[in-house]
Every structure is written in structure tokens, then in C-alpha cells.
Symmetry: C2
Subunit: 323 residues, 2 copies
């Protein structure tokens, strides 16, 4: 059967290596992540890999057109902040140009609308100082101070991907880099990864011409690499996947199916329309609903604060159980 | 034949109205654009509509997945600046989150890396001033001053689209808004518009399930609305389309074919790999290559400066010819 076949670990790993070319940056990124994990583990910190943003799937080899997944990266970026607040060191594997921790609070603001230049008498000539209008960037002082503290302590390592192929290879490199950290590593796989792709061998080289009539695309299923990740690449880690659906009626069933198939620790299940205020954390034995009250929404509490709090507690138990 | 059929103006217009739902904002945007055009025309300014960025084509009606076109919006955003420098009022019809005039110069810079907070003794309490580190934002004072001058003079009207459907309806609304300005209007259609889409009637409501096996997508051709734009919506305007190819050998041929088919004034033809340094402006009688010399590349001259200079001169001749 196709579904049990696709969960077979050597197949998924082999298919990935055979069908997706490794990007040039993967080796250097792997070394950097391993060094980051080693350093923070030796200082007694847990390390979480947060993946974030959608993946791009080219339809042509010199790419003009591509298939994309909906994701601003908001959930991944805000979760990374709460993990940092909880004492984790964070590897942030994110889609190029998706939201970034801290600066995500000002996404959509035009930088030039927040600045004002004023002349300043320098030694001999007039120069300008450029200052932020703080009413345009709420809480900028505290956000900036937190961002700079995280940066100085090197608690956040950012790694970028763009295409599905880059994501797959960087995730494997991350898993191998975190494997030595054992159960102190968490994988928080919030990226919106495409389920489908066009193999390079079947891809036209040049831009598809619209004058040739309607476009027929056949896409293959992407290998399910959660399977080798859990079984082979980082077998002792605490692994969380995400499930986004538009139909609430199939949500928890699909989360349970994923847990049965991949044998990882938890699925954060959510529905597109309500994803900012409601999720269900599904484990083999439990099902925990997290939601924001009206009062919490007014205070601008974020659901990610609750998700991260729930999972870091569960991670503590997991580490204790593993001895 | 399909290709001559698709250039038939009533058909393209009717198909667009029938197959693409008009977005809620289109009427208000149309009124705003008409008022903008009327005002600037009465002050003796020409008006250019610059379209910019790629379009999104949903694959599901509650959209998780979509087809996208490669485009950062760099060409549209920089061209808008040169049109403003040349005395045009600019309607900037752009993809949400694509590059924006002036702020595009700092795209990819993390805002928080450019700021520093320093304590300041206020009346009674310590507050902070937040200042820009100008070495991180080159030329920020002059860019900011130019941005603010354009904003105060209301020379730039920004209108946003996201999906193909929004783009099509907003372009029609823009054409109708600019029609009263006659030959003083230019259309500079730099957006990367999808050639294909899935009709709403054939789209699944919910997220496509990957467990159902390979994905088969059949996409219809998008109606060629350049045809009704030139013939019906703004028949006296100066209209420029863009042609991006990956194969240089078919470039000029395809540009000429478009001119024959739509009877507009010029095509800016370019090849994906060399688009930042080389374009050909093709008109019915001429073919002008524009390129950057090594020395110009070193001075960071942009090809858009040359494109805009060429086209605004041609626009002057066009206006004179029209009497």
C-alpha cells in the first residue's frame, strides 16, 4: 500500500537523496548547527530546532513559476521567542523572507514611515541624525533590548531555505547535528512543507509557454522524511509535528494517524480559520486543547506562548523518562 | 484558433468577469485612482500606472496551496522612483509584500540590526531615544527625504493585490480610471502575471489530501486582458507590456508577436538571467537595446533609469502625435 510504503524509512531517505539535489550550503550549515548544539548542550541548555515558513516547489528548472504553500512564518517566529524565554537555544530553520523572531512584530510597517531625520551641528558641517518615531513601532525599546541580548548571547542560529529541496536537506543536516544532544533536543516542525513536487527529470528547462494551451501538471508525493528523522537521524530526540487542515472534522483523526505512522511524541493540530486562537496538542495518550480567552485576546496573549509552555513541560518529562 | 480567439476583446473581458470574482476593494480603489488621475492631470502632470510583483493562483478555495510567479517586484518599485523623478504621478499597483519604492533599497535588512537605543534623561524619568546606525542603512537621509517629499506631494498612490483575480479586476478599474486622461496616461505593466489558473468551479474546497496519491492539476489559460485594455478600457493611452523569457533565442520574436496581436505601443523584453543589465525595447518600427556598461554597473546605475528615460521620451512623441 502506498501509505505504509511511504512511511518506510530507508525508502524515504533514499528517495530524498536520489530525487532532490543537495544545496551548496548544506555542509557548512550542518557544521554550524552541530557546533551550536554542542556548545549550548555543554552549557546545560536544551536545543530546539524550529522550522518555519512555506516551501517553494519549482515547476520549471530555470524557475519562473512555482507552487507555494501558505505560510507567513508567524507561528514559527513567535514560538522561537517563547522557546528563548524558556531557556532554550534555538536553531531557526526558516524560509527566506518569512517572519523573523522579534522583527516580526513590525512586519508590514514601512521602515521609512517610522523614521525622521533632523539636522545636527557636527564639527564644521551639518549632518543629520535619524531617529525612530516610537509611536510607529510600539514597545521598540524593550523588543530591541531583548533582540540584542539574544544576539549577544548567541542563543539564536538562523538558517535559511527557499525551495523544498533545500528544506529537506537542511532538515536532515539539522537532525544529524542535533543527534549527539540526544533527548535534550526538540524538533518543532512548524514549517508548511509541500506534499507534492515535480521530479527534476520531468521538469521543462524553459518557461512553459502559455500559447501551447491548457497546462497539465502531474506532481509526485514528497517522501515522508519524518519517518527517517524519528527512526534514524535523531532517534532520541523529542519530536513535534504540525497538522494544518481546513476541515475541522478530520483534524484529530489525522493527527492520531500521523502519530501511529511515525511514532514521534506529539502533533500540534490546528484549523486554518482558527489557528491563531485554538490548537489541540495530540500525544499517544492525551489530547490537550489550548485556546485563548477573550480576556487573553485583549491582552494580546499569543497561543504560541501556551504551546511552548505545554511542550517544554512535556519535554522535561520526556528527558526524565529517558533517564 | 485558440490564440486569435484569446485576443478577441469582448471574449477576454466577458471571460474575466464571468470566471474571476471581483474583490471587495475594487470599487473604492477605482474611485481613488480616478480622483488621483483627475487631480494630477489638472495640474499638468502625466500619470503612469506601474504594475509590480507576481500573482498568486489558488489551487484550493480555502487556500493553503497556490501557484506563484517569480517576482520580487524590484523592477516595478525602482521604475516607480524614476517615473517620479521624471515628473509623473504614479499609481503603484503591486503585490502585497513585494518591494516598495524607496524602502526597497533596504529590503532584506533586519530593522532591529540597524537601531540602537540610548537612555535619555526626560523630565522626572529615564526614557530612551532610538536612533538609526546610518552605516547599516546607506544614504538613509537622502532616501528618507525623497520618500517624504513624494508622500507630502501625494505623487504616489499605492494599491495592493494578492491573487490573480484581484490583479485582473484592479487593472480593469485602473484602466477605466485613467481613461479620461487620454494619451497622458501610461501603462507600465511590469507585474509577472500568471498565464494559468484553476476556475473556481473546479477547485476543491478543502486542502488537497496527500494520502490520495499523486496530484494532477489541469489549469486553464488566463484571458489576455491586454486586448480589452488597449481596445476598450483605455484606448488612447500609451501602453507598455513586459516579456520575460528564459530562452534568449525566442525573445524578440515573441515581443513582436505580442505587438501584432494587441496593437499596443511597446514591449520591454528581457531574459531571466540578464534582466538586471540588459533589455530590448521593441516597438512596431524599432528595436532598442539598453544595457549597462561595466562603469555604470560599478556606479550602481540601474537599468530601470534607462528604460524609464527611453519610454518617457517615447511617451512625449506619442502625445504630440495624438495632437
Amino acid at each position: 500500500m502506498a501509505s505504509s510504503g511511504s512511511a518506510c524509512s530507508p525508502t524515504a531517505d533514499c528517495r530524498m537523496e536520489a530525487e532532490f539535489a543537495a544545496p551548496a550550503q548544506v555542509e557548512a550549515a550542518g557544521r554550524q548547527m552541530a557546533e551550536f548544539a554542542r556548545h549550548h548542550c555543554s552549557e546545560g541548555r536544551r536545543v530546539v530546532l524550529v522550522t518555519s515558513g512555506g516551501t517553494k516547489v519549482p515547476l520549471e528548472s530555470r524557475t519562473v513559476r512555482f507552487l507555494d504553500n501558505f505560510s507567513s512564518g508567524r507561528r514559527g517566529a513567535s514560538s522561537a521567542e517563547y522557546f528563548l524565554d524558556s531557556g532554550y537555544a534555538v536553531i531557526f530553520l526558516h524560509r527566506h523572507h518569512s517572519l523573523y523572531p522579534y522583527s516580526r512584530k513590525y512586519a508590514g510597517v514601512n521602515l521609512l514611515d517610522t523614521l525622521r531625520a533632523s539636522p545636527e551641528q557636527g564639527p564644521g558641517c551639518i549632518s543629520h541624525r535619524v531617529e525612530v518615531d516610537q509611536s510607529k513601532l510600539p514597545h521598540i525599546v524593550s523588543v530591541l533590548q531583548r533582540y540584542q541580548a539574544v544576539k549577544e548571547a548567541r542563543l539564536l542560529l538562523a538558517v535559511e531555505f527557499n525551495t523544498l529541496s533545500e528544506y529537506l536537506h537542511l532538515l536532515k543536516a539539522a537532525a544529524q547535528a542535533l543527534s549527539p544532544v540526544g533527548s535534550n533536543a526538540m524538533f518543532y516542525l512548524a514549517a508548511a512543507v509541500s506534499d507534492f513536487y515535480i521530479p527534476a527529470s520531468e521538469m521543462p528547462e524553459h518557461k512553459i509557454q502559455s500559447s501551447n494551451g491548457p497546462l497539465q501538471i502531474t506532481m509526485k508525493m514528497v517522501p515522508k522524511i519524518l519517518s527517517p528523522l524519528v527512526k534514524d537521524w535523531a532517534p532520541r530526540a523529542f519530536v513535534i509535528s504540525f497538522k494544518l487542515e481546513t476541515d475541522p472534522s478530520i483534524l484529530v483523526g489525522r493527527a492520531r494517524r500521523a502519530l501511529d505512522l511515525y511514532r514521534h511524541q506529539a502533533v500540534v493540530a490546528n484549523v486554518l480559520d482558527t489557528r491563531r486562537g485554538y490548537v489541540v496538542i495530540v500525544t499517544r495518550d492525551t489530547q490537550t486543547e489550548l485556546l485563548l480567552s477573550d480576556e487573553e485576546e485583549q491582552r494580546e496573549v499569543e497561543i504560541e506562548e501556551k504551546i511552548v509552555s505545554n511542550l517544554s513541560t512535556a519535554h522535561t518529562s520526556f528527558i526524565e523518562e529517558q533517564g
